[in-house]
Amino acid sequence: MTGPVIKVRDLVVEYRSPTGPLRAVDGLDLTISAGEVYALLGENGAGKTSTVEVIEGHRPRHSGDVEVLGIDPAASGAVRRELRDQIGIVLQTSGVEPEITPREALNLFSSTYRAPRSVREVIELTDLRDFADQRIGTLSGGQRRRLDLAVAVIGRPKVLFLDEPTTGFDPSARRKAWDLISNLRVDGTTILLTTHYLDEAEYLADRVGVMSKGRMLVEGTPGDLQQAHGQSVMSVKISETGSMGQQDIEHGVALALHAIPHHVTWIGQRLEITTSDTTGVLERLASWAASAGLVLSDWSIERPSLEQVFLDLNTNDDRGDSGD
């Protein structure tokens, strides 16, 4: 199956508040293709959860068009049931009765779907074996989150919604959860996840969207975002400088990199250039060095972390807002 699985056009979500309606989502567009893993990022209050809840059919929208697998999630009755059969949801605040065991819970939930996975398969998949027959009330927070995930995938969903799936996990549990999510992706499951962890988005997502104040700030692959919005740090060792001092070299570099935004610092014999256009800097610097008779060696380029991109984006957005 190809083509969009989730389509959102001009979504607006408003809440009532004592000071009048509060716009949590303000004209959002979003398209997610089959088999894609999409991570929605944003600070608290950016509108991620509201957006996802509308797409899941758990929250009414003020206006806009939303389709999941060709179905409006606000539908009711048989249409709604059809959609529910094909999606899986992990919510931040949902739970299972503490008096039963994970195996009992999975048996019960699997009864409601048309073509569920087997309980045994899901217990293996989500690594619940060791506590499948313990009361849920005795499980740790991380173990319960794994059960949430298990309940969400028992129906063999085509689309999986994960609202902060690894919040509260220890590092090894997070790794395991990531592996599980990656396995589901191999099965062709489309996944929409929200997360606070940038490394999670970097590791799991094909595409990332950063939301701020109810709007989509920027969208792209993690690599795109790093390239377009982050500054890489290039570092190179300059030897055989002959009669040229550091100031001469800086002057030469400034001329060579004319019109390319960059910033230069020295660390011992190494020149560090911070820029978003690494290719341009590389080309011009190499030809300038050749003509000036300098030897450049030991190149390194460090790309920014998604976290840096995210922080930069949000800082810029705040700055842009301070005028109104």
Partner: protein
């Protein structure tokens, strides 16, 4: 493909939900205690401490211990339905259980039906137990001719009180408020409904109020077919009508006011994080 597969049968889903709720009930010791054990102990105490009196009602005379036994049986059925649901459903809402089910293809009526049906089963079983105690110890007699009226009375009353429980569950803000509100409703009502202490010559205002509330009519309707001298073969339609009306109004309130998730900030449980 999933599309070509049939949906699971509704009746099977309903039975699974019902047995799930029954299993939960048995695993919550406090629910079992308040629903079954407490009324039983209260019955033993009241009848051990009351004098050997005889009561008269419209159909003739009752030994007081048989009268109280049937009244407390009715109260047990109310505990199993009204009190039980009014307490447990808000707890499940705050645990996120209702929200969890809302994410599945399970039809809402099956989810609610499982809650109601399990409550009815618990009510019927505990009432049968209490009446059995009455037969064994207090001279309660169950005439064969009265069985149809008895069954109909139990059915109408348990379903109606379950609806009342769901209505309270729908409107209360939090789970901790729910148990207080449910008790604040049921205990004063029991006191004026001949449950624990049969009232002889009550003030007419209290009598009139008790007859408009649902518990006293249920007690009357359950007592009529179990009357030791003169068991009624026909159900007490008037009393059952009052109970059913309360059930119907409650049903409408429950449907209109039902909430899947805890009110923001109104939860008695600490959430992992606040929703945005």
């Amino acid at each position: 493909m999933t599309e070509s597969q049939a949906w699971p049968q509704a009746i099977r889903l309903l039975l699974l939900q019902t047995s799930h709720q029954l299993r939960l009930f048995l695993r919550v010791p406090v629910a079992v205690f308040f629903t079954v054990a407490l009324p039983f102990v209260v019955l033993l105490i009241i009848n051990a401490t009351s004098s050997e009196r005889v009561l008269s009602d419209t159909n003739g005379e009752w030994p007081i211990d048989a009268f109280v036994c049937v009244a407390i049986s009715a109260f047990t059925a109310v505990s199993a339905t009204f009190t039980n649901l009014a307490n447990m459903v808000p707890i499940r809402r705050e645990e996120g259980v209702l929200q969890r089910w809302r994410s599945t293809p399970l039809p809402v009526w099956v989810l609610v039906g499982g809650h109601v049906l399990s409550a009815v089963v618990i009510a019927v079983l505990s009432t049968v137990f209490m009446l059995g105690v009455g037969v064994a110890l207090y001279g309660v007699r169950i005439a064969l001719t009265a069985v149809p009226a008895l069954v109909l009375t139990m059915l109408v009353a348990t379903v109606s009180f379950a609806a009342m429980g769901m209505a309270v569950a729908a409107v209360v803000p939090t789970a901790s408020a729910a148990s207080g509100i449910a008790n604040a409703i049921i205990l004063p009502m029991a006191l004026i409904s001949n449950v624990f202490i049969p009232m002889e010559d009550p003030p007419s205002v209290i009598d009139a109020v008790a007859n408009l509330l649902p518990l006293r009519p249920f007690v009357d309707a359950l007592q009529a077919p179990l009357h030791p001298m003169n068991p009624a073969a026909a159900p007490r339609w008037g009393s059952l009508g009052v109970v059913a009306l309360w059930g119907l109004v409650s049903f409408v309130i429950a449907v209109r006011q039902f909430r899947w998730n805890a009110a923001p900030g109104g939860s008695t449980r600490r959430r992992r994080s606040r929703p945005q």
